[in-house]
């Protein structure tokens, strides 16, 4: 045999192994036979850890008006071993559930796949989030149902029946979340969407624990060390939003009977002052036991009330896009403020003009009058400036530059440093996309993609992006990503647009003229210089969408707004008055045009939009 000299080491190893096993047997002997402490422990010293739920953080608006708070709620728990002679019918009646539901719930509790911590000796969640009213009947007769207990919880309560899309809601945590985060247990609640989701970790607080002693039969014998080891729950942190509740209320009211959305932002800070999507719903209906029923109804509603149109719906920005187009085309040297182009009105080719005005047109009037042929020519002059080159290389490079500068206004990408959870990307088409669509690098030219010139076709943006575009223009070349939490950290990052400051005044002037003498003259507020731009987005499914974007006042703008009313037709008819009223409310604190307010409120453009 090899290694013969080392064979003695087998004995050493055998001794080590034997020693450990002997040591363990001695230890067993001590614990199980000599020491009586542990036997007493088994009879009395068993802990029951009862979770103490913290109150969730409150939510305020920018002026510290309370928006979301908590009201007491109740869970019903059961301990299977302690249930004695249950009168199921009486129990169901007291809880207002039917027998099938009762059986289903008991089965869910027992199912270890759904409830891995199941034990017949410890409290198990039977029903959760009952309100005081739900619990009222059963509370007095609880003694009749041994084995069932009431546990305290809290539910969300809303001071105003609005802002559902911004605030979001709370729902039962998914199995996935329980697996990934030690904080959650089955039956816990967490933010599912909106602000409640984004700020879940700071709003939820920290659970506490109450330690009770129980005997082997599960009977509770009192508090462990008089509660000295209990941990008090830590309340969630309060949250102050950037919303102005007065403005939000007005915006919700103005959108009644219409399908669409409004976003208002403070340009210098990126703080969202109001964000409304209609059709909407009262956030209170997604609280408590009604949640799943109401949620399903909303989910299957053809008008999609659960969708936050302000941040998720995509529209061709239409003429509002021409503001950015004017800036980028100047920057890229395609045009300057003295460039004139021919307009033949309805007979223009390849894009006709929807307005009638003199010809040739200047940049200033083209923005003011929304002249399609002018912007087609400007776009073409910009991206064809260096000719096409071999394999269109010059043209494609110019197009890339154009797309890149457009994106620097916050278009075509999500705001990654924002706290808005639900966001759509929007779209500024890439060179790659066109290469694929038109089969190769030489398959497309300026004329192929002419609708980019006027914000139609493949270009898509959300109302949030349109409002942010207005912020970037109001700030003359930068923006801060729109956000909802009023704190400094979100305000820090400044995004600079790739257009020099000197190109902005002419766009200001043109947008001011829209109110002074152009399409929105009817929505002018006496004494306030406002800048705006009407847009009409073609819609293949029906009447075009009415869009109005702008900011006010012209000097040191304090608010930038985007309004979209779906299927309403021409922009200045429906969207412009909403813009005007919101600006008036925010800048002056009151509305001095009650008849305009009444008329706008009562306009119904979509009879299908239900009130909830």
């Amino acid at each position: 045999m090899i290694n013969d000299t080392l064979q003695g080491r087998r004995t050493v190893i055998a001794i080590i192994m034997s020693a450990v096993i002997v040591l363990y047997i001695l230890r067993l002997f001590t614990i199980q036979i000599i020491d009586t402490r542990y036997k007493e422990g088994a009879d009395s010293n068993a802990f029951l850890k009862k979770t103490q739920f913290p109150p969730r953080g409150l939510i305020y608006d920018r002026k510290h008006t309370l928006l979301v708070y908590n009201k007491p709620a109740y869970d019903i728990a059961l301990i299977m071993r302690e249930i004695r002679g249950l009168d199921t019918l009486a129990f169901c009646k007291a809880l207002n559930i039917d027998k099938a539901e009762f059986i289903q719930r008991i089965e869910d509790v027992k199912d270890r796949r759904k409830n891995p911590g199941y034990s017949t000796y410890t409290p198990q969640l039977f029903m959760s989030q009952l309100s005081i009213e739900d619990i009222a009947t059963i509370q007095q007769s609880m003694y009749k149902f041994p084995g069932f207990y009431i546990q305290n919880r809290t539910l969300r309560e809303y001071a105003y029946p609005i802002g559902a899309h911004v605030l979001g809601s709370i729902g039962e945590v998914s199995q996935r979340k329980i697996d990934n985060d030690d904080y959650y247990n089955r039956g816990d609640y967490a933010g599912r969407d909106g602000i409640e989701y984004t700020y879940e970790e700071s709003l939820r607080g920290e659970k506490g624990v109450e330690i009770l002693l129980r005997d082997a039969k599960g009977r509770i014998k009192g508090k462990f060390e008089n509660g000295k080891k209990d941990i008090a729950p830590k309340a969630g942190k309060n949250l102050t939003l950037t919303l102005d509740i007065q403005l939000q209320l007005l915006a919700e009211e103005l959108l009644k009977g219409k399908m669409g959305s409004v976003v208002a932002i403070e340009p210098t800070t990126g703080e969202i002052l109001a964000m409304v999507s209609n059709p909407s719903f009262n956030p209170a209906i997604l609280v408590g036991r009604q949640r799943s029923k109401n949620y399903n109804a909303l989910l299957h509603d053809p008008t999609k009330p659960l969708m936050n149109r302000a941040t998720q719906a995509l529209y061709p920005p239409g003429s509002s896009f021409k503001t950015a187009e004017a800036l980028v085309c100047q920057q890229m040297g395609g045009i300057n403020e003295h460039t004139y182009f021919q307009c033949n009105g309805k007979n223009s080719s390849p894009i006709r003009c929807t307005h009638s005005h003199g010809s040739p047109v200047s940049l200033l009037s083209a923005v003011e009058e929304s002249c399609n042929p002018y912007f087609w020519n400007a776009f073409r002059a910009t991206i064809e400036k260096d000719g096409y080159g071999s394999r269109n290389i010059n043209f494609r490079t110019r197009y890339d530059e154009w797309a890149d500068r457009m994106k620097s206004f916050g278009l075509g990408e999500k705001f990654t440093d924002s706290d808005i959870y639900e966001q759509s990307r929007g779209y500024i088409p890439t060179q790659k996309y066109y290469n694929k669509l038109y089969r190769g690098e030489t398959g497309w030219r300026a004329i192929t993609i002419r609708s980019n010139a006027i914000g139609q076709g493949e270009v898509l943006s959300t109302p949030l992006q349109m409002a942010n575009l207005m912020c970037a223009i109001a700030n003359e070349g930068y923006y801060i990503s729109p956000h909802l939490n009023r704190c400094d950290s979100l305000r820090k990052k400044i995004h600079y647009c790739k257009v020099d400051k000197k190109y902005f005044p002419i766009v200001f002037e043109a947008m001011w003229r829209v109110f002074d003498s152009g399409t929105a003259v009817a929505s002018k507020i006496p004494g306030i210089d406002m800048c705006g731009k009407t847009g009409t987005a073609d819609n293949s499914h029906g009447k075009p969408h009415s869009i109005f974007v702008g900011f006010a006042p012209r000097v040191h703008p304090k608010i930038a707004i985007a309004v979209v009313v779906e299927n309403a037709g021409f922009g200045s008819m429906f969207a412009a008055p909403i813009f005007s009223l919101l600006a008036e409310q925010y800048l002056t604190g009151k509305i001095k045009r009650p008849e305009l307010l009444e008329r706008t409120k009562n306009t119904v453009t979509n009879a299908y939009v239900q009130e909830r």
Partner: protein, 488 residues
């Protein structure tokens, strides 16, 4: 056909019998641990015991199949398997969340649809094979310290990767190979030094907060220094065969202690520094003795003393900075430094209560209350031994430990009868791994080891570990069976 016949005769049926017995006892314990009064069948597949039954059946099938593999294959493919295991470990770290999900802070599982497994299990087997192959190569012999270096690389690579997955327990298992190194020629000093380091660490940490006198040194540190001095004295007596020097050393220490005590009446002197001073003085003394008498036997002792002092200095740092907070708490609870009956101490306390309540005869099968009340957490995985202790009492748990002992002794016997170095090294790997798991797991349940979550072989619930242990054992049985092959 002839091959199957030979396997039937050559297979070590005694080991197989131990294996089957342990697996079945484990299965019954899992049933007891997860039993509640509304369910009755041990074959209910929606329950833990039912699914363990499936794992057991598949494990038997895997074991049977492994016996049919040509024994030379393991030698031939050893490095490939090792490389594959390492790649899987790396993949687990870098894989997207959908394949390697984050489960309670550790990313150690790979999930492909319904199949889940822990590459660390494979790494254990692969490392054992690779070490066997390396150490059985023609020109390798474990004699000097240098020979340990390549072996260290084989072990440290998987350890590092598994620690990156935050599975400290599984990583520690690789230390088990030290026992095999010892058998293959590593100096036994390594094991002694390792034990001594643990003792010093425990003493320094355990008494680190207890001052010997206010602001004048801590009990832990001074005690550790005293122990080092004592080791010197014993070394002088038993290895140096020189009692005179030992007595001088003892007297010197007493004098230093007395002087420092007297000085302390008027001035503040930190005893920590005095104890270090004593060690340094003793080392100088040994150097002096060495040079004077032209001895060469005290160099090791001097190195050892200085190393130990440095280790004691870094023990606090290791504890505070290297260990994570939850690991610190587990050790503090084990050393009775922190009373935390609702947190980390809860598991161990409840586990001791459950076992203690079993008494001599136990409460009887399915009659345990502590484990069923869910007082003992993870009672069907890492704390399964509790159920045995509670339901079958002292005699039952002793029986299980005795069975493990017989099993381990049998493995040593098998190891020593191998003619190929590859087979013997692998056999010692297998025995060491089983022994390490047993020591840590049962020690944890009995409250004499810190809480390290590694399974009890064949007992704990779970397919990945049962399969892993089965594969280890049956590769060994296949190798063992081949020992007779040449005769046939």
């Amino acid at each position: 056909m002839s091959k199957n016949v030979s396997i039937k005769y050559a297979l070590d049926w005694t080991t197989v019998a131990f294996y089957v017995a342990l697996v079945l006892m484990g299965w019954i314990s899992i049933y007891g641990a997860s039993y509640n009064f509304d369910q009755s069948s041990i074959f209910d597949f929606s329950q833990r015991a039912g699914s363990q039954f499936i794992w057991i059946m598949t494990a038997f099938a895997i074991g049977g199949m492994l016996l049919l593999v040509d024994s030379r294959m393991y030698d031939f493919f050893a490095y490939f398997i090792y490389a594959f295991a390492i790649i899987l470990l790396i993949f687990t770290i870098v894989a997207p969340n959908s394949i390697a999900p984050d489960i309670k802070g550790s990313r150690s599982w790979l999930v492909f649809g319904p199949v889940r497994f822990q590459p660390a299990e494979l790494a254990k087997i692969a490392t054992a094979l690779a070490l066997s192959k390396f150490m059985s190569s023609y020109n390798y012999k474990l004699k000097t310290w240098k020979d340990l270096l390549p072996l260290g690389m084989f072990i440290l690579l998987p350890i590092g990767l598994i620690i990156l997955q935050h599975e400290t327990g599984s990583a520690l298992v690789f230390l088990a190979f030290l026992l095999m190194f010892y058998r293959e020629g590593m100096n036994g000093i390594v094991l002694l030094l390792g034990t001594f380091a643990i003792v010093l660490f425990v003493i320094v940490i355990r008494f680190s907060n207890i001052p010997i006198q206010v602001d004048r040194g801590t009990l832990g540190f001074i005690a550790a220094m005293l122990i080092i001095l004592l080791v010197q004295v014993f070394y002088a007596i038993f290895f140096g065969r020189n009692q005179k020097e030992a007595i001088i050393l003892l007297l010197g220490s007493v004098v230093v202690a007395a002087i420092s005590y007297v000085i302390n009446i008027w001035f503040r002197v930190n005893y920590n520094y005095i104890s270090i001073f004593s060690i340094v003085a003793s080392c100088i003394y040994w150097i002096f003795v060495e040079l004077l008498n032209r001895y060469r036997k005290y160099w090791f002792l001097i190195l050892f003393s200085i190393g130990s002092v440095l280790f004691c200095f870094s023990a606090d740092y290791l504890f505070e900075k290297v260990l994570q907070p939850h690991q610190q708490v587990r050790i503090k609870v084990l050393l009775n430094m922190e009373d935390d009956p609702t947190g980390a101490g809860y598991n161990v306390n409840q586990s001791k209560i459950a076992i203690g309540s079993g008494g001599f005869w136990g409460k009887g099968f399915l009659n345990g209350t502590q484990t069923k009340l869910k007082y003992v957490p993870e009672q069907d995985t890492d704390f399964i031994f509790c159920t045995v202790g509670e339901e079958h009492g002292f005699w039952g748990s002793t029986l299980v430990l005795a069975l493990y002992w017989l099993f381990l002794m049998r493995l040593l016997k098998i190891a020593e009868r191998q003619r190929e170095t590859f087979n013997r090294v692998f056999a010692y790997c297998v025995a060491s791994i089983f022994f390490f798991h047993l020591t840590i797991n049962v020690g944890m349940v009995l409250g004499i080891m810190p809480v390290i979550g590694i399974p009890l072989p064949f007992f704990s619930y779970g397919g990945s570990s049962l399969w892993g242990f089965t594969i280890l054992l049956f590769i060994l049985l296949r190798l063992d069976a081949s020992r007779l092959e040449r005769m046939w």
